[in-house]
Point group: C2
Amino acid sequence: MLTGITFDNICQAAQRIRPFAHHTPILTSQTLDRMTGARLFFKCENFQKVGAFKIRGATNAVLCLSDEEAQHGVATHSSGNHAAALAQAARWRGIPAYVVMPDNAPAVKRNAVARYGAQIFPCAPTLPAREAGLRDVVAQTGATIVHPYNDYRVIAGQGTAALELLQDAPDLDMMLAPVGGGGLLSGAAIAAAGFSGHIRVVGAEPALADDAYRSLQAGQRIEAGPTNTIADGLKTSLGDKTFPIIQRLVSDIVTVSEEEIVHAMRLVWERMKIIIEPSSAVPVAALLCGRLAVAGKSIGVILSGGNVDLDRLPW
Amino acid sequence: MLTGITFDNICQAAQRIRPFAHHTPILTSQTLDRMTGARLFFKCENFQKVGAFKIRGATNAVLCLSDEEAQHGVATHSSGNHAAALAQAARWRGIPAYVVMPDNAPAVKRNAVARYGAQIFPCAPTLPAREAGLRDVVAQTGATIVHPYNDYRVIAGQGTAALELLQDAPDLDMMLAPVGGGGLLSGAAIAAAGFSGHIRVVGAEPALADDAYRSLQAGQRIEAGPTNTIADGLKTSLGDKTFPIIQRLVSDIVTVSEEEIVHAMRLVWERMKIIIEPSSAVPVAALLCGRLAVAGKSIGVILSGGNVDLDRLPW
């Protein structure tokens, strides 16, 4: 029994977010099956609201707030998909969202967050400045901070993506998810363990941001250093809530190179005709790299998101 | 009663090609619904085998050949999706495919056709040279020419895309398809008329290749002149088999500018996270341009294909 979160929490989260998040489709690809020798089931969270699985955790967290908490709003200093997701989730509940964002964040990200109705607080582009900015916002507003991954309500929400995949794809032997802070991977691991005792859960990580791999090797959390991996959603380090879950329930972390990520991303665009962001290509690269025994297996792959700047493609 | 092809032919084609072509999914988009005021159902032929609806017509035509005809193979001088589709269909039947292709055709197209197993005959990049090359190939091999659109077996095959859309999307008021040579649009029109008497079928065409629009206005076929429209699948002119069907069953042709096509294509990539080729963006542009009364209607849109050179995007 893991502290703080159970399979039931994921099932409850699924009920809670059902009116808001999409039940995303599963796609298959004969080309990728042939290349890997496996039967692959791609869970298309790139088709999800706000373009990423993050809406699941953010919505579950926002809906778990008491009315008293909710009226003061929610806050984060993420600048990526979590910020957009939190803004959308807050709007659904009719409460304010406050996002502290570095003043050098790309306009495309700032616009996405603003489009979902969040109030943006610019800050200097350093972690201390972001944390100080968030403290100020909370002091002023009484908002509840919703962490992008180190929060059981968020983890339970992200686990619903895996739960749907398990329900819709028959008899999986293995499930792959990308790992950054570990919210998606830990939620997926709890979902898989609760659904069946026989499904191996594997994380996929950029070699340039391999803190999860090194943390599992070391048996303790190791922080990610600064990194320029193209998989910008996976730069974060595991949290003290996600690490123990992953340590206990995830059998392997496969790391892949930047070249492997770009190759896998382009392959999915060309052959599956769907747009995935680099972070989503990381588990695909893990399947293709030959460092994981996949032949003959039925494998679920979570394609985590599809938010890409079409003016800055990596090829 | 139109000569040469009926609703039953489309239903038979659907049975015939079922083991080979995908029954493609329908996607919806709240963003595009909001932008148009309509309920849109996108038939994703970009997810089809060889990346385009063309596999339907080519497969139906190849499967309609007698064994005697089939053993000599099939031939075409298309250099686009039809050539790849015919090659794949021939391979499924285990017969040769011969493709006459201008020697300046992009490598990406030549490779696609070669990948599906066709034998390629290079020729000079003019229509007379292509037609002469095709005559030579047929004289040498006895192959049957399968025209990309002016062939009732091909039209019936293309109509199966519309048939699936009609079966899967509830109570459509209107259906939109791009129009080049008219195989898809005429097949869709026959499918819609046979399915229900109340569905308006509209063609969408680049203003730079508006021969279908002008032909309907004039009441007779007008050839498309040379054109550089980005929608390279739609440069061809209506045939003598497709024109009468369109004249009788299609209520409108909407023409759109190059800018409208590129805008619609990018919008679908960004918001729906799927890859469509410029020809597929033409009906989307027709919906967005405001020149068609769509508010409050349920509208099926055939996204015809997803074959794009990712190194040469139009933005």
